[in-house]
C-alpha cells in the first residue's frame, strides 16, 4: 500500500511538473468559456449579446439542450478532446516511458522491493491520469454549462471521461512499446502519431467505402424502381400496340367479308410498327438494366473493399468510432433527424432523386449499428495485447 501511494504521489508530481499539463488545462478552460458564450435563440445563433438570425437553425427547430449537447459532442469532444487535447497529451506523455527506462533511472526503481509489472503499469497509469484529469475538468465544466445555459442536466456527458481515456490508451500503448524498445521520446512520439494517422486513414477508408456503397445501394434501389416503371410502361405500350394490330386485323377481315380472326401473335417488329415509340421505351429499359448490372458489380466490389477495411479495423483500435460512442449516447436517432432538418437535410433531399434514400443519414445509421462490443472490445483487446507484450519485454530485459 505504501508503495502504491508513493507511486501515485510521484505520478502527481510528474504531471504537476509538466508545463503542457497546465497549458492544456488552461486551454480547456478557454474552450469551455467559449462554449458558454455561444447560444441559440428564437432567431438563430447567439454569441454573447449578439444574435445572428439563421432560418431553420434556432430554438424553433432544435432545443437549446440538444444544441449544447451537439456542440459538446462535435466540437468539445470530437475536435478538442479527441484531437487537439489528445495531441498535447501524447506530446506531454511520450517521454514518460523513455525517461523511466533510461540508464541510471531504471536501476534505482528496479532495485526496490516492487514487482516490475506493477512498476511499469503504474508508470502507464501516470500517463492515463494526465488525460483523465484533463477530460474530467472539461466534462465538469461542460456539464455546468449545459445545465445552466441549456437547462439540461446531462450526467451521461461524463461518459466522455472513459471514452476519451480509452482512445488515448489505444495510442499510448504504442507509445509505451516504442518508448521501451527505443528509449527515445522522439521515436515514441513520431511512431505514435504515425500509428494514429494510419488509424485515421483506415477509418476514413472504411467510412468512405461504406458511404459510397450506401450511395450505390440507394442508386440501385432507384434503378430497380425505374426498371419496374419502365417495364410496366413497355408492357402497357405493347398491349396498346397489340390491341391496335388486332383491331386492324378485325377491320381487314370485315372488309374482306371474312370471319373475325382470333387475336394474333405479333412479332416485335409488327408491334414496333404499330407504335413507333416502343423501340425507345425498350432501349431505355435495356439501359436501366445495364446500369443496374453495373451497380450490382460495383456494390459487390465495394462490399469486398469495405469488408476488408472492417476486418482490418477489427484488429486495430477504433479511435474515431470510440469517440463517436459519445454522440450515440447523447444524441438519439430522433435528435439526429431534427439536426439533419436543421442543417438543411430536407432541402438537400428535395434536390435529390426522390427514389433514393438520404444516404448520409443511412451511412450514419449503419455506423451507429456497429456494436459497442466490437468497437470498444476489440480496441481494448488490441491494447491488452500490446500492453502484455510491453510488460513482458520490460520484465525480462536486463538494464
Amino acid at each position: 500500500m505504501i508503495q502504491t501511494i508513493t507511486l501515485l504521489v510521484d505520478a502527481y508530481r510528474e504531471l504537476n511538473a509538466k508545463k503542457l499539463f497546465w497549458i492544456t488545462l488552461v486551454l480547456s478552460g478557454v474552450i469551455v468559456a467559449a462554449f458558454a458564450c455561444v447560444g441559440l435563440d428564437a432567431q438563430g445563433l447567439k454569441i454573447l449579446w449578439w444574435s445572428f438570425p439563421i432560418p431553420m437553425f434556432n430554438t424553433g427547430t432544435i432545443s437549446l439542450a440538444l444544441f449544447y449537447k451537439f456542440v459538446f459532442v462535435n466540437f468539445g469532444a470530437a475536435l478538442w478532446l479527441s484531437w487537439a487535447a489528445m495531441i498535447l497529451a501524447v506530446v506531454s506523455t511520450a517521454s514518460i516511458i523513455p525517461d523511466f527506462v533510461t540508464g541510471g533511472a531504471v536501476e534505482l526503481s528496479l532495485s526496490k522491493p516492487i514487482g516490475r509489472v506493477r512498476l511499469f503499469l503504474t508508470k502507464y497509469v501516470t500517463a492515463l491520469l494526465f488525460v483523465a484529469l484533463q477530460v474530467s475538468v472539461f466534462s465538469v465544466a461542460s456539464f455546468l454549462v449545459i445545465g445552466l445555459r441549456g437547462g439540461a442536466w446531462e450526467p451521461r456527458l461524463f461518459l466522455a471521461i472513459p471514452i476519451v481515456l480509452g482512445v488515448f490508451s489505444y495510442l499510448f500503448c504504442i507509445c509505451a512499446l516504442v518508448g521501451l524498445l527505443t528509449r527515445s521520446t522522439i521515436a515514441a512520439l513520431l511512431l505514435t502519431l504515425l500509428f494514429w494517422i494510419f488509424l485515421f486513414i483506415l477509418n476514413a477508408a472504411d467510412t468512405a467505402t461504406l458511404a459510397i456503397k450506401t450511395d450505390m445501394a440507394g442508386r440501385m434501389t432507384a434503378q430497380e424502381k425505374r426498371l419496374v416503371r419502365q417495364q410496366s410502361e413497355l408492357e402497357r405500350r405493347e398491349h396498346w400496340a397489340r390491341d391496335q394490330l388486332n383491331e386492324r386485323a378485325k377491320a381487314d377481315a370485315a372488309a374482306k367479308g371474312e370471319p373475325e380472326p382470333a387475336p394474333g401473335v405479333w412479332t416485335i417488329e409488327q408491334l414496333d410498327a404499330a407504335d413507333p415509340t416502343l423501340p425507345n421505351v425498350r432501349a431505355e429499359r435495356g439501359r436501366i438494366e445495364k446500369q443496374l448490372e453495373e451497380s450490382k458489380d460495383n456494390i459487390t466490389q465495394l462490399r469486398r473493399w469495405n469488408d476488408g477495411f472492417v476486418i482490418a479495423k477489427t484488429i486495430f483500435p477504433k479511435t474515431t468510432e470510440t469517440t463517436g460512442l459519445l454522440e450515440r449516447v447523447l444524441v438519439s436517432d430522433e435528435d439526429l433527424e431534427s439536426l439533419a432538418k436543421a442543417f438543411g437535410g430536407d432541402e438537400r433531399r428535395g434536390r435529390r432523386d426522390p427514389d433514393r434514400p438520404d444516404n448520409d443519414l443511412e451511412t450514419e445509421r449503419q455506423l451507429r449499428s456497429r456494436s459497442v462490443t466490437w468497437i470498444v472490445g476489440t480496441s481494448l483487446a488490441f491494447e491488452g495485447v500490446v500492453l502484455f507484450l510491453t510488460c513482458w519485454i520490460f520484465s525480462r530485459r536486463d538494464y
Partner: protein
Amino acid sequence: MTATPTSAVSSSPRAAGWAVDLADVAKTYKGRIHALRGVSMKVGAGEIFGLLGPNGAGKSTLVKILMTVISPSRATGTVLGHPVGHKPTLARVGYLPEHHRFPDYLTGAQVLDFYAGLCGVGRADRRKRRGELLELVGMSRWGATRVRSYSKGMRQRIGIAQALMNDPDLVVLDEPTDGVDPVGRRDIRNILLEVKRRGKAVFLNSHLLSELEMVCDRVAILVQGVVASQGTIGELTEGRQRYEIEIADPRPPIEVLRAIAPDLAAAGKLPGGEAIEHTPAMLRVATADAARVQPLVDLIRSRGLVLQALRPVRPSLEDLFMQAVTDPSTGHVLDPGAADDKQGRAARTGGGAA
C-alpha cells in the same frame, strides 16, 4: 538458488552472518560475451567490501545481478540469507547505481521520500530519516531544491542518503565518490565507516583504489569476469612484503653488492632463500621478517658503507591490482572488457575464481 559456501573465501572469522554469499555467478550476453564466468564471493555483516577491476571486468554486472536489475545466466547464493533475486529482501538493501539519474522534477527531500516509499518505509519513518540523512550528507540546506539544479557532488550525496533511507543491512554503492570533491570524499568515507560501525555490510564498487584501501576490510579483484584475487589487504599482500635498502654510495646498488658479496649478487638471493631484487636506487629483499635482512645489513655496515635507509614495504592495492590485470606470460596489461568468444578473448583462465 541455494547458498553454497565456498572455501576459497572462508579465511574471515565470520562463520555466520554473511550479507552476501555468492557462488558460481555467471552472465553471458548474446550467447557469446561472458561478462561473468563463475564468480564466488562473500561479504560479511559489519564489513566494508571493495570490488575492483578494470573497465568491463563485470563489476557493474555483478552489482546489478545482486540488485535484480540484471538476471544472471546462472547463480547460486544468497543476499541477506535469501536467494539472489528475492525481491522482498531488497527492502533491507540500499543501492546507489553508477551514473544514477533521479527524476528531475523532484527535490532532494522528495527523492529520499520516493525511493524510501518504494522500499515500503512508512511516512513517519521517512520524515524522520529524511532530516537525519540530509544532515548526515551535508544537504540540509538543499533538501527543498529540485535535483535538476544540483552539482554532480550534490547528487552523489543525495544518492548516498537515498541508499540509507530504508536503514539497510546491506549497502551497495557503485562509484559513490565519482564527481565528489576531496572534502566530500572524506565525508563519504566517514559515513561508510559509521554504517560499518552499526554492523551493516557495505559493498563498494570503485575505481579509486586509494579510497578503497582506506576503508575496505576485504577486497576482490575482478578481471574479465572472474575473481582474480580476494581477501583482506593483509592476506593479499602476505608473502609480497619486502625490505628496501638504500646505500649512500655513488655506484649502483647492485655494483656495491657485487663488490662486498659477489656470491649473493650472483645467486640473487640470501642464504635463507629470500630473493634480492635491485633498482638503480635500492636493493629489495623479499621478506616480511626483519631478522632475515640483518645479515645483509651487517655486511654492508662492516664494509664501512653508510646505510641511508632501511624500510619495510607492503604492496599497495594498486600494486595488487596491476599484478592482477597483467598477463604473466607477456607482462602486458590485459585487454579491457568482457571475454568475447567471437573476438577470441575467452582464453584467460589464470587467477581462478575464488
